[in-house]
């Protein structure tokens, strides 16, 4: 504990806690998305989300960095066990179904519509 009382020690401790905070937020985010994937309907989802938030809030006031680390590792292992096998992703996103489905044509390709039939408004 004496190492953490120096200025450099405190700075590295703060950096570690910041990294842990980010990890917790990302775990919560993924857990929320996957909860919505398992529980498709909104009302049960709100109940399950409240339960999940309560579970996260139980450990809100833990200060010891190592204890937080252990909790995060436990949480991530549990997430890995209960994640949804086919999570929903927005279609155009990299994990979605229409990703790169109709990419824009390269600039060299010129679409020439010279029969007039493509111009429906003239009918």
């Amino acid at each position: 504990m004496s190492a953490s009382l120096t200025i450099a020690g405190l700075a590295s401790l703060a950096a570690r806690r910041d990294a842990q905070r980010r990890r917790v937020c990302r775990l919560y985010r993924k857990a929320l998305h996957h909860t919505l994937d398992w529980v498709i309907f909104r009302e049960p989802f709100y109940k399950e989300a409240s339960k999940l938030r309560a579970r996260f809030d139980v450990n809100k006031d833990v200060v010891d960095v190592d204890a937080i680390e252990r909790l995060i590792v436990k949480g991530e292992a549990e997430f890995k066990k209960f994640q949804h096998p086919e999570p929903y992703a927005v279609p155009w996103s990299p994990e979605g179904v229409t990703y790169a489905r109709n990419p824009p044509l390269p600039a060299e390709v010129v679409v020439v519509k010279d029969w007039g039939r493509e111009d429906w408004s003239t009918h």
Binding site: R21, V24, C25, L32, R53, D57, A89, S93, D119, S121
Partner: protein, 98 residues
């Protein structure tokens, strides 16, 4: 003829949404969060500093944005959406925001 233009069968133009609409909808989503006090909410509120929200509450609000505007927000970008102007900026500039 009833067809007003030749795009009626194809996907609509993906230009995103205007700033004003983005602001209205973002404020609506933030207001809907149970821990937010609507009286304190302004156009330039910071979620954690002004509204006193937790980082997990911010995660919930960002998920609300993802669902409302049908967006994919990667983790690195989501870390930066910590205030109303940042969120409005992101949504208004996104080409695929619905």
């Amino acid at each position: 003829w009833g067809l007003l233009g030749r795009r009626w069968m194809s996907a609509p133009a993906q230009d995103g949404i205007s700033e004003k609409e983005a602001l209205d909808r973002v404020m609506m989503i933030v207001k809907a969060h149970p821990k937010v006090n609507p009286a304190k909410l302004t156009q330039s509120s910071h979620f954690m500093n002004d509204l006193g929200l937790d980082s997990l509450d911010v995660v919930e609000i960002v998920m609300g944005f993802e669902e409302e505007f049908v967006l994919y927000i990667p983790d690195e970008v989501a870390d930066k959406l910590v205030s109303v102007p940042a969120a409005v900026d992101f949504v208004a500039k996104h080409p695929k925001a619905k």
